[in-house]
Protein backbone atom coordinates (compact mmCIF):
# COMPACT_ATOMS: atom_id res chain seq x y z
CA UNK A 1 0.00 0.00 0.00
CA UNK A 2 1.24 3.46 -0.84
CA UNK A 3 1.42 5.70 2.21
CA UNK A 4 0.76 9.43 1.86
CA UNK A 5 4.32 10.10 2.94
CA UNK A 6 6.96 7.94 1.27
CA UNK A 7 8.88 5.69 3.63
CA UNK A 8 12.26 6.25 2.03
CA UNK A 9 13.43 8.70 -0.62
CA UNK A 10 16.68 10.11 -1.94
CA UNK A 11 18.02 13.31 -3.39
CA UNK A 12 21.36 13.88 -5.09
CA UNK A 13 23.43 13.60 -1.91
CA UNK A 14 20.97 12.55 0.80
CA UNK A 15 18.83 9.63 1.85
CA UNK A 16 15.69 10.19 3.93
CA UNK A 17 14.25 7.39 6.06
CA UNK A 18 10.95 7.74 7.86
CA UNK A 19 11.18 8.14 11.64
CA UNK A 20 8.84 5.46 12.92
CA UNK A 21 9.17 2.77 15.62
CA UNK A 22 8.97 0.14 12.85
CA UNK A 23 12.05 1.42 11.09
CA UNK A 24 14.13 3.43 13.55
CA UNK A 25 15.52 2.17 16.84
CA UNK A 26 15.46 4.95 19.43
CA UNK A 27 18.71 3.61 20.87
CA UNK A 28 20.39 4.38 17.55
CA UNK A 29 19.12 7.93 17.58
CA UNK A 30 19.76 8.75 21.25
CA UNK A 31 23.55 9.30 21.05
CA UNK A 32 22.97 12.12 18.54
CA UNK A 33 20.29 13.98 20.48
CA UNK A 34 21.44 13.51 24.07
CA UNK A 35 22.54 16.38 26.29
CA UNK A 36 26.28 16.04 25.70
CA UNK A 37 26.08 15.28 21.98
CA UNK A 38 26.63 18.89 20.95
CA UNK A 39 23.11 19.03 19.54
CA UNK A 40 22.40 22.15 21.58
CA UNK A 41 24.01 24.13 18.71
CA UNK A 42 21.09 23.05 16.58
CA UNK A 43 18.31 23.03 19.16
CA UNK A 44 18.95 26.61 20.29
CA UNK A 45 16.43 27.81 17.75
CA UNK A 46 14.18 24.77 17.82
CA UNK A 47 11.02 23.83 19.64
CA UNK A 48 12.73 21.00 21.53
CA UNK A 49 15.62 20.51 23.92
CA UNK A 50 18.35 17.86 23.95
CA UNK A 51 17.11 14.57 25.40
CA UNK A 52 17.85 13.74 29.02
CA UNK A 53 17.53 9.96 28.65
CA UNK A 54 16.76 7.30 26.00
CA UNK A 55 13.13 7.07 27.06
CA UNK A 56 12.62 10.61 25.81
CA UNK A 57 14.01 9.53 22.44
CA UNK A 58 11.77 6.46 22.41
CA UNK A 59 8.72 8.63 23.09
CA UNK A 60 9.80 11.00 20.34
CA UNK A 61 10.05 8.17 17.82
CA UNK A 62 6.68 6.81 18.92
CA UNK A 63 4.99 10.18 18.76
CA UNK A 64 6.50 10.90 15.37
CA UNK A 65 5.40 7.48 14.12
CA UNK A 66 1.85 8.08 15.32
CA UNK A 67 1.69 11.46 13.58
CA UNK A 68 2.91 9.71 10.44
CA UNK A 69 0.28 6.96 10.74
CA UNK A 70 -2.36 9.68 11.12
CA UNK A 71 -1.10 11.32 7.91
CA UNK A 72 -0.35 14.49 9.86
CA UNK A 73 3.36 14.62 9.17
CA UNK A 74 6.35 12.95 7.63
CA UNK A 75 9.58 13.14 9.59
CA UNK A 76 12.77 11.67 8.28
CA UNK A 77 16.20 10.78 9.51
CA UNK A 78 18.71 12.28 7.07
CA UNK A 79 21.80 10.30 5.98
CA UNK A 80 24.46 11.56 3.55
CA UNK A 81 24.87 9.15 0.64
CA UNK A 82 28.02 7.42 -0.49
CA UNK A 83 30.70 9.84 -1.59
CA UNK A 84 29.75 12.41 1.02
CA UNK A 85 31.87 13.07 4.06
CA UNK A 86 30.19 11.17 6.92
CA UNK A 87 28.24 8.96 4.52
CA UNK A 88 25.67 6.76 6.25
CA UNK A 89 25.92 8.70 9.49
CA UNK A 90 22.80 10.19 11.06
CA UNK A 91 22.96 13.88 10.03
CA UNK A 92 19.68 15.26 11.31
CA UNK A 93 15.96 15.36 10.94
CA UNK A 94 13.81 16.79 8.16
CA UNK A 95 10.05 16.93 8.17
CA UNK A 96 6.87 18.12 6.56
CA UNK A 97 3.83 18.84 8.72
CA UNK A 98 0.57 18.81 6.79
CA UNK A 99 -2.22 21.12 7.86
CA UNK A 100 -4.86 19.59 5.61
CA UNK A 101 -7.61 22.01 6.57
CA UNK A 102 -5.39 24.93 5.59
CA UNK A 103 -3.98 22.92 2.64
CA UNK A 104 -0.55 23.93 3.87
CA UNK A 105 2.70 22.11 4.39
CA UNK A 106 5.16 23.38 6.96
CA UNK A 107 8.77 22.44 6.47
CA UNK A 108 11.25 21.87 9.26
CA UNK A 109 14.83 20.68 9.57
CA UNK A 110 17.71 20.44 11.96
CA UNK A 111 21.16 19.18 11.13
CA UNK A 112 24.07 18.18 13.32
CA UNK A 113 26.87 20.72 13.18
CA UNK A 114 29.35 18.64 11.12
CA UNK A 115 26.80 18.71 8.31
CA UNK A 116 26.23 22.45 8.24
CA UNK A 117 27.36 24.59 5.31
CA UNK A 118 26.90 21.94 2.64
CA UNK A 119 23.62 23.17 1.22
CA UNK A 120 21.79 20.10 2.51
CA UNK A 121 18.90 22.23 3.75
CA UNK A 122 18.20 23.59 0.27
CA UNK A 123 18.51 20.18 -1.35
CA UNK A 124 16.06 18.78 1.19
CA UNK A 125 13.68 21.73 0.75
CA UNK A 126 13.45 21.18 -3.01
CA UNK A 127 12.45 17.56 -2.41
CA UNK A 128 9.80 18.45 0.17
CA UNK A 129 8.38 21.25 -2.00
CA UNK A 130 7.95 18.69 -4.78
CA UNK A 131 6.32 16.19 -2.39
CA UNK A 132 3.98 18.84 -0.95
CA UNK A 133 2.60 19.98 -4.29
CA UNK A 134 3.03 16.98 -6.51
CA UNK A 135 2.28 14.09 -4.21
CA UNK A 136 0.20 15.62 -1.40
CA UNK A 137 -1.77 18.11 -3.52
CA UNK A 138 -1.30 20.94 -1.02
CA UNK A 139 -1.57 24.62 -1.96
CA UNK A 140 1.07 26.36 0.12
CA UNK A 141 4.46 25.43 1.53
CA UNK A 142 5.41 27.44 4.60
CA UNK A 143 8.47 27.78 6.76
CA UNK A 144 8.93 29.84 9.89
CA UNK A 145 12.10 30.93 11.64
CA UNK A 146 13.03 33.04 14.66
CA UNK A 147 14.66 36.40 14.06
CA UNK A 148 18.17 35.64 15.34
CA UNK A 149 18.63 32.37 13.48
CA UNK A 150 20.77 33.94 10.76
CA UNK A 151 22.03 30.69 9.22
CA UNK A 152 18.54 29.36 8.69
CA UNK A 153 17.27 32.70 7.42
CA UNK A 154 20.00 32.67 4.76
CA UNK A 155 19.27 29.08 3.75
CA UNK A 156 15.53 29.69 3.63
CA UNK A 157 15.85 32.95 1.69
CA UNK A 158 17.85 31.13 -0.94
CA UNK A 159 15.46 28.28 -1.65
CA UNK A 160 12.32 30.40 -1.26
CA UNK A 161 13.70 32.74 -3.90
CA UNK A 162 14.59 29.83 -6.16
CA UNK A 163 10.93 28.76 -6.08
CA UNK A 164 9.61 32.31 -6.56
CA UNK A 165 8.14 32.36 -3.05
CA UNK A 166 8.07 35.24 -0.59
CA UNK A 167 8.76 36.50 2.89
CA UNK A 168 5.23 37.27 4.13
CA UNK A 169 6.13 39.09 7.30
CA UNK A 170 7.47 39.00 10.81
CA UNK A 171 4.67 37.93 13.13
CA UNK A 172 4.93 38.69 16.82
CA UNK A 173 3.94 35.97 19.29
CA UNK A 174 2.62 33.83 16.49
CA UNK A 175 3.11 30.53 18.28
CA UNK A 176 3.77 29.14 21.73
CA UNK A 177 7.35 28.01 22.11
CA UNK A 178 7.92 26.14 25.34
CA UNK A 179 6.62 28.46 28.04
CA UNK A 180 7.02 31.58 25.94
CA UNK A 181 5.49 32.83 22.74
CA UNK A 182 7.73 32.90 19.69
CA UNK A 183 7.82 35.71 17.15
CA UNK A 184 8.48 34.31 13.71
CA UNK A 185 9.34 35.20 10.15
CA UNK A 186 7.05 33.31 7.83
CA UNK A 187 7.88 32.46 4.23
CA UNK A 188 5.61 30.79 1.71
CA UNK A 189 5.77 29.18 -1.68
CA UNK A 190 2.33 28.93 -3.29
CA UNK A 191 1.20 26.45 -5.89
CA UNK A 192 1.26 29.27 -8.46
CA UNK A 193 4.89 30.00 -7.52
CA UNK A 194 5.69 26.31 -7.83
CA UNK A 195 4.02 25.98 -11.21
CA UNK A 196 5.84 29.04 -12.54
CA UNK A 197 9.25 28.08 -11.15
CA UNK A 198 11.80 26.22 -13.18
CA UNK A 199 13.65 24.15 -10.61
CA UNK A 200 15.16 20.84 -11.43
CA UNK A 201 14.43 18.53 -8.48
CA UNK A 202 16.43 15.40 -7.94
CA UNK A 203 14.00 13.18 -6.03
CA UNK A 204 13.61 9.44 -6.18
CA UNK A 205 11.18 7.49 -4.07
CA UNK A 206 12.93 4.35 -2.86
CA UNK A 207 10.11 2.86 -0.79
CA UNK A 208 6.54 4.02 -1.09
Amino acid sequence: MTALFPRVFETERLRFERIHPETLDARELYPYVREDSGIADATRFMTWDPHQHPKETMEYVQYTGEANDAAASGNYAVYPKRGEDGAGEFAGNAGLGADWERRSAELGIWLRKPFWGRGYSGERADAFVELAFDRLGLEVVTVTVVDDNDRSIRAIGKYVERWGGQHDGYFRHLRPHGDDPASLHRYTITRADYDAADVNVDLSIVDD
Partner: protein, 207 residues
Amino acid sequence: MALFPAAFETERLRYERLDAAMDALELYEHTGTDEFERVSEHISKHRHHHPKDALDYLEESAEQWREGDRANYAMFPKEGESGAGAFAGVASLISLWDRRTARLGVWLLEAYHGRGYAGERADALISLAFDRLDLELVAAGHTDGNDASKRAIEKYVDRYGGRYEGVLRNWVVLDDDPRDLHRYTISRDEYADAAVDVDLHVEETLD
Protein backbone atom coordinates in the same frame (compact mmCIF):
# COMPACT_ATOMS: atom_id res chain seq x y z
CA MET B 1 -13.17 39.08 40.46
CA ALA B 2 -13.69 37.25 37.19
CA LEU B 3 -11.10 37.51 34.42
CA PHE B 4 -13.53 39.37 32.20
CA PRO B 5 -15.84 42.14 33.43
CA ALA B 6 -19.52 41.24 33.12
CA ALA B 7 -20.25 44.60 31.51
CA PHE B 8 -18.58 47.86 30.53
CA GLU B 9 -19.36 51.10 28.81
CA THR B 10 -17.55 53.40 26.42
CA GLU B 11 -18.61 56.84 25.23
CA ARG B 12 -21.46 55.67 23.03
CA LEU B 13 -21.82 51.95 23.71
CA ARG B 14 -22.73 49.53 26.45
CA TYR B 15 -21.35 45.97 26.41
CA GLU B 16 -22.79 43.02 28.29
CA ARG B 17 -21.65 39.43 28.53
CA LEU B 18 -23.42 37.94 25.52
CA ASP B 19 -24.85 34.78 27.07
CA ALA B 20 -26.28 36.79 29.97
CA ALA B 21 -27.67 39.59 27.82
CA MET B 22 -29.45 37.55 25.16
CA ASP B 23 -31.37 34.32 24.96
CA ALA B 24 -31.26 32.06 21.91
CA LEU B 25 -34.49 33.29 20.35
CA GLU B 26 -33.46 36.93 20.68
CA LEU B 27 -30.06 36.26 19.18
CA TYR B 28 -31.53 34.18 16.38
CA GLU B 29 -33.64 37.15 15.25
CA HIS B 30 -30.33 38.78 14.27
CA THR B 31 -28.17 35.84 13.25
CA GLY B 32 -30.70 33.86 11.21
CA THR B 33 -31.15 36.53 8.57
CA ASP B 34 -29.91 37.38 5.09
CA GLU B 35 -28.42 40.48 6.63
CA PHE B 36 -26.27 38.36 8.92
CA GLU B 37 -25.10 36.38 5.92
CA ARG B 38 -23.76 39.63 4.45
CA VAL B 39 -22.34 40.83 7.76
CA SER B 40 -20.50 37.56 8.38
CA GLU B 41 -19.21 37.11 4.84
CA HIS B 42 -15.59 37.73 5.81
CA ILE B 43 -15.52 36.29 9.31
CA SER B 44 -15.43 32.79 10.72
CA LYS B 45 -19.04 32.84 11.80
CA HIS B 46 -22.03 31.39 10.01
CA ARG B 47 -25.61 32.37 9.64
CA HIS B 48 -27.65 30.41 12.20
CA HIS B 49 -30.03 28.08 10.41
CA HIS B 50 -32.39 27.63 13.35
CA PRO B 51 -32.65 28.79 16.97
CA LYS B 52 -30.72 25.71 18.13
CA ASP B 53 -27.64 27.07 16.32
CA ALA B 54 -28.03 30.27 18.31
CA LEU B 55 -28.43 28.28 21.54
CA ASP B 56 -25.28 26.26 20.78
CA TYR B 57 -23.39 29.46 20.11
CA LEU B 58 -24.50 30.97 23.42
CA GLU B 59 -23.57 27.80 25.30
CA GLU B 60 -20.16 27.71 23.68
CA SER B 61 -19.81 31.36 24.55
CA ALA B 62 -20.64 30.66 28.22
CA GLU B 63 -18.19 27.77 28.31
CA GLN B 64 -15.35 29.86 26.83
CA TRP B 65 -16.15 32.61 29.31
CA ARG B 66 -15.86 30.20 32.25
CA GLU B 67 -12.59 28.84 30.89
CA GLY B 68 -11.23 32.36 30.48
CA ASP B 69 -10.52 31.73 26.81
CA ARG B 70 -12.91 34.12 25.15
CA ALA B 71 -15.23 36.95 26.10
CA ASN B 72 -18.15 37.71 23.79
CA TYR B 73 -20.06 40.91 24.50
CA ALA B 74 -23.39 42.07 23.13
CA MET B 75 -23.16 45.74 22.16
CA PHE B 76 -25.97 48.25 22.74
CA PRO B 77 -25.84 51.92 21.68
CA LYS B 78 -26.35 54.20 24.66
CA GLU B 79 -28.96 56.87 25.11
CA GLY B 80 -28.57 59.68 22.61
CA GLU B 81 -27.49 57.30 19.85
CA SER B 82 -29.86 56.27 17.11
CA GLY B 83 -31.08 52.76 17.96
CA ALA B 84 -30.29 53.27 21.64
CA GLY B 85 -30.77 50.13 23.71
CA ALA B 86 -31.09 47.85 20.67
CA PHE B 87 -28.70 44.98 20.02
CA ALA B 88 -26.01 46.20 17.58
CA GLY B 89 -23.54 43.33 17.33
CA VAL B 90 -20.89 41.30 19.13
CA ALA B 91 -17.42 42.31 20.32
CA SER B 92 -14.97 39.54 21.20
CA LEU B 93 -11.70 39.28 23.05
CA ILE B 94 -10.01 35.94 22.54
CA SER B 95 -7.23 35.38 25.06
CA LEU B 96 -4.47 33.19 23.70
CA TRP B 97 -2.68 32.79 27.01
CA ASP B 98 0.19 30.67 25.72
CA ARG B 99 0.92 33.42 23.20
CA ARG B 100 0.24 36.22 25.75
CA THR B 101 -1.96 37.62 23.04
CA ALA B 102 -5.48 38.99 22.85
CA ARG B 103 -7.13 38.55 19.50
CA LEU B 104 -9.95 40.96 18.78
CA GLY B 105 -13.04 40.32 16.71
CA VAL B 106 -16.24 42.19 16.03
CA TRP B 107 -19.36 42.19 13.91
CA LEU B 108 -22.03 44.87 13.68
CA LEU B 109 -25.50 44.86 12.16
CA GLU B 110 -25.69 47.01 9.04
CA ALA B 111 -27.63 49.84 10.69
CA TYR B 112 -24.61 50.44 12.94
CA HIS B 113 -21.90 50.47 10.29
CA GLY B 114 -20.00 53.67 9.59
CA ARG B 115 -20.32 55.12 13.10
CA GLY B 116 -16.83 54.30 14.29
CA TYR B 117 -18.17 51.78 16.82
CA ALA B 118 -15.51 49.24 15.87
CA GLY B 119 -12.73 51.67 16.80
CA GLU B 120 -14.41 52.70 20.05
CA ARG B 121 -14.82 49.02 20.96
CA ALA B 122 -11.18 48.32 20.05
CA ASP B 123 -9.94 51.00 22.46
CA ALA B 124 -11.85 49.39 25.30
CA LEU B 125 -10.75 45.82 24.57
CA ILE B 126 -7.13 46.88 24.05
CA SER B 127 -7.16 48.54 27.43
CA LEU B 128 -8.69 45.44 29.05
CA ALA B 129 -6.15 43.19 27.34
CA PHE B 130 -3.12 45.08 28.64
CA ASP B 131 -4.27 46.61 31.92
CA ARG B 132 -6.59 43.95 33.25
CA LEU B 133 -5.44 40.70 31.62
CA ASP B 134 -1.73 41.60 31.61
CA LEU B 135 -1.29 40.32 28.07
CA GLU B 136 1.68 41.41 25.94
CA LEU B 137 0.18 41.76 22.51
CA VAL B 138 -3.11 42.59 20.82
CA ALA B 139 -3.69 41.10 17.39
CA ALA B 140 -6.36 41.73 14.79
CA GLY B 141 -6.78 40.58 11.25
CA HIS B 142 -8.93 40.71 8.16
CA THR B 143 -9.26 38.52 5.12
CA ASP B 144 -8.50 39.70 1.58
CA GLY B 145 -11.25 41.89 0.25
CA ASN B 146 -12.71 42.94 3.61
CA ASP B 147 -12.02 46.62 3.01
CA ALA B 148 -14.31 47.90 5.76
CA SER B 149 -12.40 45.91 8.39
CA LYS B 150 -9.10 46.89 6.84
CA ARG B 151 -9.88 50.58 7.21
CA ALA B 152 -11.18 50.21 10.77
CA ILE B 153 -8.19 48.14 11.89
CA GLU B 154 -5.60 50.37 10.20
CA LYS B 155 -7.08 53.37 11.97
CA TYR B 156 -6.90 52.06 15.52
CA VAL B 157 -3.63 50.16 15.05
CA ASP B 158 -2.10 53.39 13.82
CA ARG B 159 -3.50 55.27 16.82
CA TYR B 160 -1.56 52.90 19.11
CA GLY B 161 1.64 52.85 17.07
CA GLY B 162 1.11 49.20 16.18
CA ARG B 163 1.98 47.64 12.87
CA TYR B 164 0.79 45.71 9.88
CA GLU B 165 2.87 42.52 9.98
CA GLY B 166 2.00 40.86 6.73
CA VAL B 167 -0.20 38.20 5.27
CA LEU B 168 -0.67 34.74 6.73
CA ARG B 169 -1.46 32.69 3.68
CA ASN B 170 -4.14 29.98 3.93
CA TRP B 171 -4.69 30.85 7.58
CA VAL B 172 -8.43 31.16 8.19
CA VAL B 173 -10.70 28.43 6.94
CA LEU B 174 -14.09 29.78 5.85
CA ASP B 175 -16.54 27.25 4.42
CA ASP B 176 -13.76 24.68 3.98
CA ASP B 177 -11.80 27.23 2.03
CA PRO B 178 -8.48 28.46 3.46
CA ARG B 179 -8.18 32.24 3.13
CA ASP B 180 -5.30 34.65 3.57
CA LEU B 181 -5.34 36.74 6.74
CA HIS B 182 -3.70 40.14 7.03
CA ARG B 183 -2.39 40.46 10.58
CA TYR B 184 -1.84 43.58 12.68
CA THR B 185 -0.48 43.78 16.20
CA ILE B 186 0.02 46.28 19.01
CA SER B 187 2.61 45.47 21.67
CA ARG B 188 2.47 46.46 25.32
CA ASP B 189 5.27 49.02 24.77
CA GLU B 190 3.52 50.58 21.81
CA TYR B 191 0.34 50.77 23.87
CA ALA B 192 2.15 52.47 26.75
CA ASP B 193 3.91 54.97 24.47
CA ALA B 194 0.70 55.87 22.67
CA ALA B 195 -1.04 56.84 25.91
CA VAL B 196 -4.42 56.99 24.22
CA ASP B 197 -7.14 58.42 26.41
CA VAL B 198 -9.72 55.64 26.71
CA ASP B 199 -13.24 56.20 27.95
CA LEU B 200 -14.02 52.93 29.75
CA HIS B 201 -16.22 52.12 32.74
CA VAL B 202 -16.18 48.58 33.99
CA GLU B 203 -18.92 46.74 35.90
CA GLU B 204 -17.89 43.54 37.64
CA THR B 205 -21.39 42.10 37.84
CA LEU B 206 -24.62 42.39 35.90
CA ASP B 207 -27.70 43.34 37.88
